[in-house]
Point group: D2
Chain length 498, copies 4
């Protein structure tokens, strides 16, 4: 399950995943849904939770949105234990000769807290250690989260943790979590977290809600362990990937499927009439109004996503996540556009109607899968040079003319290549609002250039992050955070969290 | 259950609580044990876990010592949500006119991380807010922890959170969590955490393991909710208080019993032969050797604790937590000393023998309670002035001649008094290694002066903290943290955590 | 006096200025030299002083290189008084509602001290004020320095100081030094510093050594007061401008001459054989060797500087600052190249021979000036939009195709325009090693793009700084600073400073 | 020239020194005055300048109060060069293994700038070095200033600079400026500054105005070089020492005279009626009113200063710095009190009348010196242990019962003793407003205890600083700094500086 380029409100991938699961269930299929766990911090910020919506929802919503089974707390604890051990190592003589200025391992908290983005630690004198400039990311942006979602078992998890590069020593050699003897204790902290969590939809379809790596600097998919468990238990597994298909689907295919040796059978591309109008240039505030011109122009965005997805060899079906005020004319315009591209489109009403609102989509999925038309392969081979992988994605998926990297970035690519990381896939970090790096370039922009500002090594997760544009790894709270309205009412019920 | 002044290794209050509970159970009594939850951070530092030991242990040890039911994670999250909302409030215009230099609410993490004691936040420019100097405490030192342990229910918890003073505005008025509209969301985060956790000892005695406020800047006791639940369900409830009796028992009586309207029936004062020798001046490394002179001198410490406890009107029984190499001569010396003071002493071997090792202690407890000799009252009345409460504790319990406060501290006392906090009890923060503020002053030092360095308001918890000496609210890791040895073995078992 | 694109060692503009002055003197002309004061800090770093060299030197060298008449100390004091008054204003209630994050006025010190580039101030509690992230520049980079060099008298100096924009208030309005009532006291601190300093060359030619604004973020010329004084007293005034002609001469013409209403009569463009070979691609270490290919290629750099200078309407003469090991073949190649462009070139040996080494250059200058061929006009008019001024300089002088600015920079240009600063000249900050922004692009690079990273307002100095590339406003010391060798010998003489 | 315990406005030591000098001059004596140079920073704060007042003033006041001959700028530059070299040394590999947390050498600026008291440096990444917490002192608090005032010549200055301890290495060995090869360059920066500056009073008495070490953490006297020069040129030399006699005179005798082998002939103890009333408990705002009770009580302060000074073996004469509204009754009360103690007192009117207002004091001085009654010796011998030196001063001069030091301070004393610094004199840092460490304890407090909070080594200056109480080494500006009123008027005259 993926989507076109989204509006800030999102296009309903989770909701549609649940709806499709419920519909497959209604069709008598043995189905499981695989979703990402929501992050606690953002629940107190702009939006409420992330457990689907309407009648296409997983339950218990409140628990899932808050501490749930404690997975994210465990990830934060494991991450911060490593952070504490780094500073502690320096404090007690710095046997590994770490360069305090070149420590890239930060700290994390599952909270929207902009004040922690850039901090100085170890002030206050000798007993508090050596001052350093560092900062916090939100927990979902932790490499531990990415690792947990890509590890095949607890031992593999520990092995990956050992490989995490926390910084460099004074001779520029990489220093790892393994060298700090931190991996064992971190794995102990994660031994329950790596186990998939099983809940259900309102229509009793089983749902594995597990892992939630940040969809920009990580790969943004449900954990491999959960997906593989679901694949063993069910005949049909519906899973989602973060952001639009240029980011989420590409990473799902090129990172998760590559590492997990998965072979997806079909792709559902979610679109909403609102998002299409938005991509066609309509004003964000008037998306509820009929605007056929904007819709027509916005379909270019849908078109590029379709053609992108076809490059992976997986059949594509469009799922229109229908809102009550979408008109028939609008729906038909989308259907017609897809039809011209030989792609089926289904208007779905699972939000209002539950599984039965997505029956035609489910039926099409079943037929597509039974036809066995998927010839999946990732976009690039392991042995393409790192910088060429990035260029290839930019040209093939983003429609860019080229990438540009300054000397520092090129040197970094070269260093990673020389250090033996050349065979890793690349994890692209880019705005989700456009195929280009300019969030305001709607539709399907052409002739643009993708600047690669920075490359980072996630040696434990097993990918190289290529940062193209400003990427936020710690959100802030809005002027009036949702937290101000969240509380417990007179009946002891939680309110304000939805 | 309390203890004499401890060695750094501790005297076995938790172990003896479990042993006594198991012994009462063995006597056929309907008994429940009420313990504090261990903090996760210190498990990776010097020591292992905190779930009793030997055959006087609660299980499952590993879960209890790590994430357990997530209570501490919930406390950290609630605490840090408030922290984020403070900086966010300033960021968005500072409607409450908070003085950024006078914000006393810090952040917390359940980790030993000295690098976070003193930090500067919000660096990096306009988008990250206004720089401030602040820091982290370990989660158990959070006022939220103290509140959770003193709240009578979820609504009371929320009410107390509302009253938390986070700092002052530019006119020096206190600003509360309630004014920031944070209390509801914080309570939602804590709605499961406030529920007591029920486990059992190895001999199947029920144990409520719930809450773990820092025994120096907070009151160091199991939660009131857990204790009250246990009192409803069992005829005998065994509970503990942190540190030695000068701190733990005094706060149990003066804070927890006062706020919770509890009337304890008997006190067990735990002593070890080692600790007595240590208090008598023996070298920390030779405590295993017989040294009757040191023992005799160390008994003065026991004596002062006995006489202190009697001031609360509760019968005192001494429990000797016997080690295998303690000699009969040593044990008898203690018994004789106690006998001369009209106090029973029982050598207990629960660590090696489980409940049956503490039967004579249990029997004595039963008889004492049936004799109904307790005439409990706290040490001071609510209406004594705050500074006089501190002076009274120092003179009565610590054997001090007086306290000294500089002008700033006296002004602070006066301000709290004027702001209507004069009726709160005082929570003393002092070294646990001596009755005085000098950790090396062993035995029962006389003619000493207690300097009060700082006073802090815990308006939500409902006490005034009086800091006497250097108090650590964020520990560090040792040169070789336990974390380096913790891991998962070939069978998938956790090792290194005990 | 200006130069081609320099090597890191510099091309000898100051030395040639002194040599030309002495030669004019030797010809019996009434001449004065106008030079910049050297900065104290860099004397302790890589190089020694900056008072010319060999027999073309001003004296007393030691005093000129160190404290001299205290001008730079006065500038530092005036600058830092304003800094202190800003933080003091915030401390005492912030009546002007300054946004502490938007204060652009930093502090200065005349020292190479990289540790001060990025600092946090006001730590340590309430009494020390509100923490802010800020930093130090070297004193020559102070706007006060630029103002002192452009002010026409003490009153004008004070008026310009009043206009300095120190930051914005919370509604984004500019706040000035005048609003802080700082200008009067700052002017008092500068009342002696604004007076030109008169010294002499070794051949007794009078030299006004006064002012030394940083040639990148400021205009890099001797003070207007000194130049005008010299123009009143002498018939011929020789003055210099920092860096190569693309920066120094352009700013001399477009900023200093514009503001001071000066009309220069002739330009000497200094070149060295070494620098030409360097611009032609020769290795920095083998510049002493004959390399006619590199020399030929390097002449393109000279050619572009010549054609640039001609755009200002001022006659150009090339002065070859000859080194003892330059060959006749090399010198002739330069002469031939110039001759083909209708420009005279003179090989000068003033370093070795004093004024008589520059007689032919001097003679040519006299004839040129007497021919009165100068038709000076600046490159652009006051009323061209700011962004267009930058574009015009980039295209006309740098040979760039265009400039690129991100949205933030464009907005800033627009804001300055709206605030009424649109008529100011632009002060370009760019590497001196290339016409482009890539220091390694030697010769006369074509088809390059100039990125404008940042624009800053120097409202007191009266220009807009356009920063193109990484600009250093606080240098660091090298691994072995010159300071390690500087000292006082047994005879009480200063050694190591040259 | 010294004084009783002052009011915040000061008692007029400088004015009386000038008055006495002028009076001696009027008596036909060959006299020179030796004063401290005023600091630039404070001129912009609360007060104006410090060049005497009324008709007892040195000129040119404006120059003396501002940059003067640049001595303080040179001191700041030399100090900050060492600071830069320390961070630079760490940056380039830290060959000396400096512990960045144990660097005690800070930076200085001659400005009242509280924002710089506590800062973090080297933020912003690898190129800016390793972050450290440090800060700025005002330049007069620099050890360089103390050194300049105690050095006997330029070579001795350099030798002393070499011995400056800047911090410790990771094995806790002291690291010196000499090890950083900084001393030579620092001496070069100071080669003019060490030369005494000669000005004159309004009555043409020569005055050496040179050096101005902070009277709390340094010794607060005119430079030894200036004093010795004056002693060679004149028969009578009048010099002053900072703060009251408990601090200034004690340090003059025990530090300056000891190191410089000076033997003072007589002491003038300045008192004002206002200060005596202030010391007698009168309110600071009503000091202008007659209050014989307060005056009588305040005379105890005078009495203790007299008896203190007699302990050094130097004859004492009281000089009453008379204000126009002092009554005869008040003056006579002081005279009577002194007479009873066998000490002469002279009411002086030099502020209003110049030298002739101090003739009787001058006459008495001449007679006293001719009688040759001085038997000067310092208060303690070199070989008394450091801690005992401090105790001796506290008991003998401050009238304290004892000193108290915590363990850290005692250890520090011991370390200095072991490192061979035991023979140095001690430089006491204490409030000037009381003999005790409580600024509000007026008169001659008895039975007080002096807490020694910190000891610092000034190995270059050649003393150990014992800090007793809160000591400010960087002042702040007041709400309305004098700078706001300082400026240049229409005639080009400086106004607001007096």
């Amino acid at each position: 399950m993926t989507a076109i380029s989204p509006t800030p409100a999102g296009e309903g991938k989770t909701t549609t995943s649940v709806g499709l699961g419920d519909a497959l269930n209604a069709l008598g299929k043995n189905v499981a849904i695989c979703l990402r766990e929501p992050s606690l911090g953002p629940c107190f910020g702009m939006k409420g939770g992330a457990a689907g919506g309407g009648f296409a929802q997983i339950i218990p919503m409140e628990e899932i949105n808050l501490h749930f089974t404690g997975d994210f707390h465990a990830i934060s604890a494991a991450h911060n234990l490593l952070s504490a051990m780094i500073d502690n190592h320096i404090y007690w003589g710095n046997g590994l000769n770490l360069d305090a200025r070149r420590i890239s391992w930060r700290r994390v908290v599952d909270m929207n807290d902009r004040a922690l983005r850039d901090i100085v630690t170890s002030l206050g004198g000798v007993a508090n250690g050596f001052p350093r400039q560092s900062g916090y990311d939100i927990s979902v942006a932790s490499e531990i989260m990415a690792i947990l979602c890509l590890a095949t078992n607890l031992k593999d998890l520990e092995n990956r943790i050992e490989k995490i590069v926390v910084g460099q020593d004074k001779d520029r050699n990489n220093i790892t979590a393994g060298q700090l003897n931190a991996a064992g204790a971190m794995a102990v902290l994660l031994r329950d977290a790596i186990k998939p969590n099983l809940v259900q939809s309102m229509e009793h379809t089983p749902a594995f809600v597990h892992g939630g790596p940040f969809a920009n600097i990580a790969h943004g998919c449900n954990s491999l362990v959960a997906t593989k468990t679901a694949l063993k238990l069910a005949d049909y597994v519906v899973t989602e990937a973060g952001f639009g298909a240029d980011l989420g689907a590409e990473k799902f295919f090129d990172i998760k499927c590559r590492i997990g040796e998965l072979t997806p059978s079909a792709t559902v591309l979610v679109a909403t009439i609102k998002a299409l109008k938005f991509q066609g240039g309509a004003d964000g505030k008037s998306l509820g109004e009929v605007n056929m011109d904007a819709l027509d122009k916005g379909l270019e965005n849908l078109g590029q996503h379709i053609s992108n997805l076809e490059k992976f060899g997986v059949p594509v079906i469009v799922g229109i996540n229908k809102y009550s005020n979408d008109t028939d004319e609008e729906i038909q315009a989308v259907e017609k556009y897809c039809s011209a591209r030989n792609v089926n489109a289904h208007a779905c009403t699972h939000w209002a109607d539950g599984g039965k609102g997505a029956l035609s989509l489910a039926q099409d999925i079943v037929e597509t899968i039974e036809a066995d038309r998927s010839e999946f392969s990732p976009l690039y081979g392991d042995d393409l040079a790192l910088v060429e992988k990035v260029r290839h994605v930019a040209r093939t998926i983003y429609g860019a003319d080229d990438i540009v990297c300054d000397k520092k970035v090129l040197t970094q690519f070269k260093t990673f290549q020389e250090q033996g990381y050349g065979n890793l896939p690349v994890c692209m970090a880019k705005t989700q609002y456009s195929f280009s790096t300019d969030p305001s370039a709607k539709g399907a922009p052409k002739n643009h250039i993708v600047p690669v500002r920075e490359v980072r090594l996630a040696a434990g997760a097993g990918f190289i992050v290529a940062i193209c544009g400003d990427i936020m790894t710690m959100p802030g709270l809005p002027r009036h955070p949702a937290a101000e309205k969240i509380g417990i009412d007179a009946n002891g019920e939680t309110v304000g969290l939805f």
